[in-house]
């Protein structure tokens, strides 16, 4: 109600103004302004995260431009509102509030790190708006106002470990990560998963390093020592961002080859590899839901469009970009289905929406606000691309509450009426109950 009122009020003021002063000159731009639907883009363009997030801003600009060429949405043009939260977590919340209350955007696409998402979450819930979050994350969260288009642990980490266990016969595991929430939660889930599959405590080594760690000599030689225990060893890496380049350089220099100790990474994509010579890294692995090398027509079109938009043939595409592609198309379809951009109606319309992804399948939005995606395991090639060596036979739905953590095992999320709950406890039958 409030919303309708304020729109009416604004319309009235504008009309009044238009009538009062220079009627023909002012009504034309005012009318044009009324025609657009605003889309918020909340990605850091400066600071440490700019390295990853700038690309996502660009891909959103491209998608919006493409949609406008197709005639916009609901007969209106889309208008991107770009803000720069500068890799500063509290600023994310401020900028999100600004986007929703001042710019009145219909939906926001943004965030990269989990801490930035946690920071804006209360804002989106309070102001009842929509956020599309495109990056793989640790799970253990479900919000009515957030659509998670990146991978949950079961869409990335668990299949990767399965692959190493079954195809490469790995028996010893190094879980190496950067010291923050995503690696810690993912490793907790993986540790439990490995133990459930009969891996002994002694065969798991867990190691955390600070953000931006650049001296990997000791850790790499520890990994080497751990790997000489007579059992096939692999490293599961949740090392984030910039720290990866020196890590891989040290691996290559100390002569650890993928055939001896393979490293499977969850945060290393085409973009990260663009900064290193990959020849010594051939055979190390990454698990994602999309690789630039995937050979489908949709992907070829997407890459061509991206190169044309950015004006540089050397720019790569990566998994979070595909997530935004899927998320944006889902939002467009849901708005068309609902016939309005009103968040409540769009949120209801989102569940069940299905759009083509770039790997040749049809991704759909689940009732838990996570999407279905294929899981691909790729090996690094000497040209900085990945070659897919394994993929799940079908699409996998993101599981927000992991089954491998005792406290989240009984929880499920279903945002459809009548349940409409993000953390329903199947044991107690109550909504909002954290597990035992």
């Amino acid at each position: 109600m409030l919303k309708v009122k304020s729109v009416l009020a604004r319309g009235a003021i504008l009309a009044g103004l238009g009538a009062a002063i220079l009627a023909p000159a002012l009504t034309a731009p005012a009318a044009a302004q009324e025609e657009t639907i605003k889309v918020g883009i909340l990605h850091s363009l400066s600071g440490t995260m700019a390295i990853s997030e700038t690309t996502l801003k660009d891909v959103m600009m491209m998608l919006i431009e493409q949609q406008n060429e197709k005639g916009g949405l609901l007969g209106k043009k889309l208008e991107a509102v770009v803000v720069d939260p500068a890799s500063d977590w509290p600023l994310f919340a401020e900028k999100a509030r600004e986007l929703i209350t001042v710019d009145k955007v219909a939906a926001v696409f943004g965030c990269w790190t989990s801490v930035s998402r946690k920071s804006v979450l209360p804002v989106f819930e309070e102001l009842d708006s929509i956020l599309f979050y495109p990056v793989q994350y640790e799970g253990e969260e479900s919000s009515k106002n957030v659509f998670y288009t990146g991978a949950a642990p079961n869409q990335q980490a668990i299949p990767a470990v399965d692959y190493l266990m079954n195809e490469e016969g790995v028996e010893r595991w190094v879980l190496a990560g950067t010291d923050y929430v995503y690696p810690r939660t993912t490793n907790k889930i993986l540790e439990q998963y490995l133990k459930d599959h009969g891996v002994a405590e002694d065969d798991i080594m867990i190691n955390y390093t600070p953000f931006g760690h650049s001296d990997w000599q000791t850790i790499v030689s520890d990994i080497k020592a751990f790997g000489s225990g007579g059992k096939k060893t692999a490293v599961v890496s949740t090392i984030n961002g910039d720290a990866n380049v020196p890590f891989y350089k040290e691996l290559a220099n100390q002569g650890i080859e993928a055939t001896d100790i393979p490293v499977v990474a969850f945060s290393v994509g085409e973009e990260e590899l663009a900064g290193i010579d990959t020849a010594p890294l051939v055979g190390h692995l990454a698990a994602w839901n999309y690789f630039m090398s995937v050979d489908t027509d949709e992907n070829a079109d997407f890459i061509d469009a991206w190169h044309e938009f950015i004006g540089n043939e050397d720019r790569v595409t990566n998994d979070p970009m595909e997530a935004h592609y899927i998320g944006f198309n889902m939002w467009v379809q849901a708005v068309e289905k609902a016939g309005t951009t009103d968040p409540d109606k769009v949120i209801d319309a989102m569940v069940g929406v299905a759009v083509p992804n770039l790997t040749g399948g049809l991704s759909s939005m689940g009732a838990n606000h996570h999407i279905t995606k294929p899981v691909l395991i790729g090996e690094i090639q000497d040209d900085g691309q990945f070659s897919v060596v394994w993929e799940t036979p079908g699409l996998v739905l993101g599981d927000e509450w992991s089954d491998f953590l005792p406290e989240s095992k009984p929880l499920i999320s279903d945002w459809r009426a009548p349940l409409s709950c993000g953390n329903f406890n199947t044991e107690t039958g109550k909504c909002g109950g954290q597990g035992s």
Binding site: T48, G230, G283
Partner: protein, 543 residues
């Protein structure tokens, strides 16, 4: 002897094969196995089928298939869709230049859609390694024979044992023999030979280092009785030897980390230590040096690729000039108005650092830039049981060289004399006719230039991104303050001791806690000795 002749004959036949293949469209040798069909199997089925196909190929003993296998491991083996022929493809623009996998016959160009890549994964690569190992044991080149023996050692492939023993009997080169004996012992452990032979193999391996541990532990876990005892004894021998080396390794890592700290901090030792300017933009000077390296390498890549190994040497003077010039501008444009006002200097230089970061981000983009390692900085060599990587070694050498040059510059040149005169007593220096503002600007430029050449070195081990400098600014201040402000020797000792301390803590406390402990240690140390390790005494301190 008969065997040898046979193999020599085969080898001869193979080297002639491509020539005869030109005239004969069906290259299947009626006397030998049907290689074409065997190679054709590589394209079929799952990864494990592919491994079996590789083993079958290796069993033929034909060296002619080695190029095909190598191409397979490198991902260059394709199947032509039209006739299912297995070809080796090299990318040429959007197409592939294809040659027959066995005969090497030139088949012209094929489009991207006309050939299908034969997929490989790590297990397939391992199988190829083992196969090539047993095929190249008789290569005329000793280094190829050693690497063949080593690949058998790593894969412990018992199927290669016969070929290996035959090769060993005929081998005369002592180095190759050692490698082959080691490989034979490792392969025996995986074979079904009697325990007595295995125990002997365990004894052979016990003299080895870390790389034999894997094979030994596997035996210890899978056997019992005498063999198990022998394996366990060998393992404890090896571990004992390793423990000694480990301490040495830690010192080496510490020196290496220390040399990185020294490089990052030594420019600051001049701007902050000698001049007393709290320069928050110091890290960005390092970053500018790294980006200069990137630009130099990019220019070389595009115009003169043969110069690539020299790129760093070319980048060094350029980085010094670029960073030094920017430093000069900063001093003339901003800092000279702020002498004696440390808080304002701090804020102003911090602002400059943000401006420089964003400027680089706008010009070069926010993503990492690739700076390659020249060949003489790649790889590692083993010193006993220590692995010493070339890039770390050169950085240590380089850090000490920079330190020595800087020391010489301040102690033995007229500029150094003036610089010290100005820092010790500005009025007196001015009174004897030294142009103090000019010396200030040059000193600041020198400090910035040194940071620039540190950037060249750091581009070899870290990301080249706009954030590069931020990671080093805290560490640099820590080193300079710990070592003693105003003293180059203090910076050297400070950097090295912090490096070694950090590396001895890391294995016990982990990287995160280790860093915290070092920080706590420095805070306590500064409480006790506020002027650092080597405090300057005299009038300058009070100024």
């Amino acid at each position: 002897m008969l065997r040898l002749i046979l193999i020599a004959f085969l080898w001869l036949g193979v080297s002639l094969a491509p020539a005869s293949a030109q005239t004969n469209p069906a290259p299947a040798d009626p006397a030998g196995p049907d290689l074409e069909a065997l190679v054709g199997n590589l394209a079929k089925g799952s990864y494990s089928d592919r491994e079996k196909a590789i083993a079958a190929l290796a069993a033929t003993g034909e060296t002619a298939i080695a190029p095909a296998l190598r191409a397979l491991a490198e991902g260059d083996l394709y199947q032509r869709e039209a006739d299912g022929r297995i070809v080796i493809g090299k990318r040429e623009g959007r197409d592939y230049k294809i040659t027959d996998a066995i005969t090497g016959e030139d088949l012209g160009l094929a489009g991207r859609r006309e050939v299908e890549k034969i997929r490989v994964n790590n297990s397939v690569r391992r199988a190829v390694d083992a196969a090539i190992g047993s095929l190249t044991l008789r290569s005329p080149r000793p280094d190829v024979r050693i690497s063949a023996a080593n690949s058998i050692f790593y894969t412990q492939d018992p199927d290669s044992l016969e070929a290996l023993e035959a090769a060993l009997a005929a081998e005369e080169n002592a180095d190759v023999r050692t490698a082959m004996q080691r490989a034979r012992a490792a392969a025996i452990l995986k074979s079904d030979r009697p325990d007595a032979a295995k125990i002997e193999a365990v004894h052979d391996l016990a003299s080895g280092g870390r790389d034999v541990l894997g094979a030994l532990s596997a035996v210890a876990a899978a056997s019992d009785g005498e063999l198990k005892a022998a394996a366990e004894e060998a393992i404890s021998d090896v571990r004992q030897k390793l423990a000694l080396w480990e301490a040495g390794q830690n010192v080496w890592y510490g020196l290496s980390l220390g040399s990185v700290l020294l490089l990052a901090a030594i420019g600051l030792a001049i701007t902050f230590g000698v001049m007393g300017v709290i320069n928050m933009a110091h890290g960005e000077m390092v970053m500018l040096g790294a980006y200069t390296t990137f630009v130099v390498q990019e220019t070389i890549r595009n115009n003169a690729p043969w110069l690539f190994d020299w790129s760093l040497l070319i980048a060094l003077p350029l980085a010094f000039l670029v960073a030094g010039f920017v430093g000069f501008l900063i001093e003339r444009g901003v800092i000279r108005f702020l002498y004696g006002r440390p808080l304002e200097t701090l804020l102003a230089t911090w602002g400059i650092s943000l401006i420089l970061q964003q400027a680089v981000r706008t010009i070069f983009g926010p993503t990492n830039r690739q700076v390659g390692n020249p060949s003489w900085m790649s790889g590692a060599f083993d010193l006993g049981e220590m692995t010493i990587t070339y890039n770390r070694l050169w950085i240590i050498v380089f850090a000490f060289a920079v330190f020595a040059v800087l020391l010489l510059l301040t102690k033995a040149t007229s500029f150094g004399l003036r610089m010290r005169a100005v820092t010790q007593n500005r009025q007196m220096a001015a009174a004897v006719g030294i142009r103090t503002p000019w010396i200030d600007a040059l000193t600041f430029a020198l400090g910035s230039g040194i940071a620039g050449i540190a950037g060249v070195a750091l581009s070899q081990i870290d990301n080249v991104s706009p954030n590069l400098g931020q990671g080093y600014i805290i560490d640099s201040f820590m080193v300079v303050v710990f070592g003693g402000v105003g003293n180059l020797w203090g910076t050297l000792v400070g950097a090295m001791s912090l490096g070694v301390l950090n590396k001895f803590l890391e294995p016990y406390a982990g990287a995160v806690l280790g860093k915290i402990l070092v920080l706590v240690f420095i805070i306590l140390f500064i409480q006790k000795r506020p002027r650092g390790l080597f405090a300057l005494r005299g009038r300058a301190v009070e100024a």
